[in-house]
């Protein structure tokens, strides 16, 4: 590798074959280079008489913005594309945390430069902090194949591998349709939304698109005063109900029985989670002996009412 000084204008930035960074922003570097100079020289390579960048995209663009010339660089003339790309990868992984999209880009380019699959699994995946399995390799290669707009969102949101897996089960058109809601949710709910939608579609033998065309969903989307996040939460509630019709029916019957009893605020009667156990639970709070006795008396009245037995009824016996 040769150390030299060149004018940054000589670098052909259009050739981005070694570029790892997905983001364009270099503002944060401009200040530090202005104050301290370029401390870490970019690495360049010569290809067909042109100088192209191996690493240091943001640094070169910051130098250009500052009209600095010449700048110190390393020029690598002998290594092939795969070897040079490995340099770019090591430089990036050692200096910052990469997003999912950047990791996906690394894997797909390294594959494009001819890296054997074994190297990708055993060396590159662990280097990127990804479990070294074929399954993960394929997942990340699929991310690399997303369209630029979707990649941009995935880069910004940096979802978990589980969310990505769930997301990639949908077609690009279906993913685009979910976009306004999906990314407003937290990661657990993102995964739940995607999986529940897929499962409802399979249960009802219709496409996800048809699931989303349900009048109730159209209604809630039409409610303009709702924030996208609120719409997403309602969509998820709606899907949960369709996914678990029996549980939903039981919960409705139980809630109806509670409502008939007109239980006052501060007293909570609940079935065991998912109606799995036989027991109901009761919760109430009090601040004094008097309040305690008064609550007990009210509870006793509640228990004396015939409708109280409805709480124990099997809705399917009706």
């Amino acid at each position: 590798m040769k150390f030299t000084q060149i004018d940054p204008g000589e670098i052909d930035l259009a050739d981005d074959r070694f570029r790892v960074s997905f983001s364009d922003s270099f503002d944060e570097l401009v200040g530090s280079i202005r104050d301290l100079g370029l401390l870490n020289p970019p690495v360049l390579a010569k290809r067909e008489g042109r100088l192209i960048l191996v690493s240091g995209w943001k640094r070169v663009r910051a130098c250009r913005a500052l009209l600095l010339s010449p700048i110190p660089v390393f020029v690598e003339e002998e290594k092939d594309d795969l070897e040079l790309f490995r340099i770019a990868v090591y430089e990036n992984t050692s200096s910052r945390t990469l997003s999912i999209v950047e990791k996906a880009g690394i894997l797909s380019r390294q594959q494009g430069f001819g890296a054997p699959q074994d190297e990708l699994i055993r060396r590159t995946l662990p280097l990127l902090g990804i479990p070294p399995t074929m399954e993960y390799l394929q997942l990340f290669l699929s991310v690399a194949g997303m369209d630029p707009e979707e990649k941009k969102i995935v880069h910004e949101k940096d979802p978990t591998a589980a969310v990505l897996q769930a997301l990639l089960a949908f077609s690009p058109a279906e993913r685009a349709r979910l976009r306004p809601w999906l990314w407003t949710l937290g990661q657990n709910k993102q995964k739940e939304l995607l999986n529940t939608l897929r499962e409802v579609a399979a249960r009802e033998s219709i496409s996800p698109e048809q699931v989303l065309a349900h009048p109730r969903i159209r209604e809630l989307v039409a409610e303009e005063q709702l924030l996208p996040r609120q719409q997403a939460e309602r969509l998820l509630d709606h899907l949960r109900e369709r996914r678990n019709p029996s549980l939903t029916a039981w919960s409705r019957v139980f809630d109806g029985a509670l409502q008939k009893l007109g239980i006052e605020k501060g007293i909570v009667i609940a079935p065991s989670p998912f109606f799995e156990g036989e027991d109901l639970s009761l919760h109430f709070s009090f601040r004094s002996r008097e309040e305690f006795l008064e609550r007990l008396a009210r509870l006793k009245n509640l228990g004396d009412r015939a409708e109280f037995c409805d709480l124990f009824k099997d809705p399917e016996d009706e």
Partner: protein, 374 residues
């Protein structure tokens, strides 16, 4: 069902295990199958998993002969918050050549290969010690079908020819071989004993066809059971997992009719019933390996143990229906028990409420017809 000798494409041999008699026997049975001697098992297993898209599927066609370095015997883990039956499992082989969509081993085993632990001499020592400690403690139920199918590899391992004579000498154990296969050729050459039970997992024909990849049809399993009964063995059946599917009632009722017509009830040691249940993490594996399985889209809730289970009313309906058909077909003397269920479900399905696991163990080890809960 295919002969395992025909489906195994490669044998991997732990270099430390070449001299065991079982290694030699298997190599003889599978002579001509490509072999590879492995010096570093840990790296080998790691790499085997890493390099494959479906290591579990590929592993079903590769045999790994190695040593059991831990204990062969383990108490059946059952599941928290539900009633167990104090079963003891013998972990002789891991994995099985069949490929059931719901198989829990897809999640539990990090080693995807068909693994045969060849250090049988260590097994006998461990069994002697275990049974010795239990002297006078009542009969223990013990079996091999927990981490694999008890007979699926029997044509090449011939384990049954060693295990049955061993347990014949140990009436303090009630030994069960549990299978979906029809590989009974070795059993038909062995003398039976009252404490040996050959058990089959049965399911509705539609489930067997769609969710039990590579397993023989249920009618063939019942026919295999009939033949071992004819040989003098006692048999048992496991309707587990019961799965809801279109026409499930007729599916299970039909199998029970076949069973009642072909197996005398006094030769049935027990029948277990269990509705499908599985840890949430298995669902992701199922979605990848069996994306078309309808099981992924059933209505499940999280049980008290955190596993996915059918919503209780659905479970009750299935268990009750199946138990009633079994009682109609086979009489009330055949002991029925529920696998991994609560005392509420026991009470509502079987009209019995065991006082605890010891009670269930006593119920299942007492002679058929005398079973009563304390």
């Amino acid at each position: 069902m295919n002969d395992p000798a025909l489906t195994i494409e490669r044998i991997f041999l732990d270099a430390a295990c070449l001299d065991y008699p079982l290694t030699r026997r298997i190599r003889e049975r599978l002579s001509g199958t490509p072999e590879e001697i492995v010096q570093d098992p840990k790296t080998f297993l790691e790499e085997y998993r890493q390099k494959r898209t479906d290591p579990l599927g590929d592993g079903k066609r590769a045999l790994w002969l190695t040593r059991q370095k831990g204990d062969f015997l383990k108490p059946c883990p059952c599941t928290p918050h539900y009633l167990g039956c104090r079963y003891v499992t013998i972990n002789l082989d891991l994995n099985c050549p069949l490929d059931c969509t719901y198989c829990i081993l897809q999640l539990y085993l990090s080693n995807p290969l068909l693994t045969v632990f060849v250090n049988t001499p260590d097994l006998w020592l461990e069994l002697d010690a275990f049974l010795g400690r239990r002297q006078g403690g009542g009969q223990v139920r013990i079996g091999t079908g927990e981490l694999g199918d008890s007979l699926a590899l029997d044509p090449i391992t011939e384990r049954s020819r060693e295990l049955i004579p061993y347990f014949r000498q140990h009436p303090e154990a009630l030994f069960e071989l549990k299978t979906k296969s029809t590989h009974i050729q070795n059993l038909l050459t062995i003398d039976p004993a009252p404490n040996i039970v050959i058990a089959w997992s049965l399911n509705a024909p539609a489930v067997a066809q769609e969710d039990e990849g590579g397993a023989p049809p249920v009618s063939e399993r019942i026919e295999a059971a009939r033949r071992v009964v004819e040989q003098g063995f006692r048999t048992a059946f496991h309707f587990d997992p019961l799965i809801r599917h279109p026409g499930w009632k007729e599916g299970y009722a039909g199998v029970i009719r076949q069973l009642s017509a072909r197996i005398p009830s006094d030769r049935i040691a027990w029948i277990s019933l269990g509705a499908l249940r599985f840890p949430p993490a298995l669902k992701e594996i199922m979605a990848q390996r069996h994306p078309d399985s309808r099981l992924l889209y059933e209505e499940f809730i999280r049980g008290l143990d955190g596993k996915f289970r059918y919503f209780k009313p659905h479970r009750l309906e299935m268990l009750f229906f199946t138990a009633e058909r079994l009682r109609e077909g086979l009489g009330r003397e055949v002991p029925l028990y529920l696998c991994m269920e609560s005392s509420e479900i026991w009470r509502r399905v079987l009209k019995k409420e065991p006082a605890g696991e010891e009670d269930i163990e006593g119920y299942l080890t007492s002679p058929a017809g005398l079973c009563q809960f304390t």
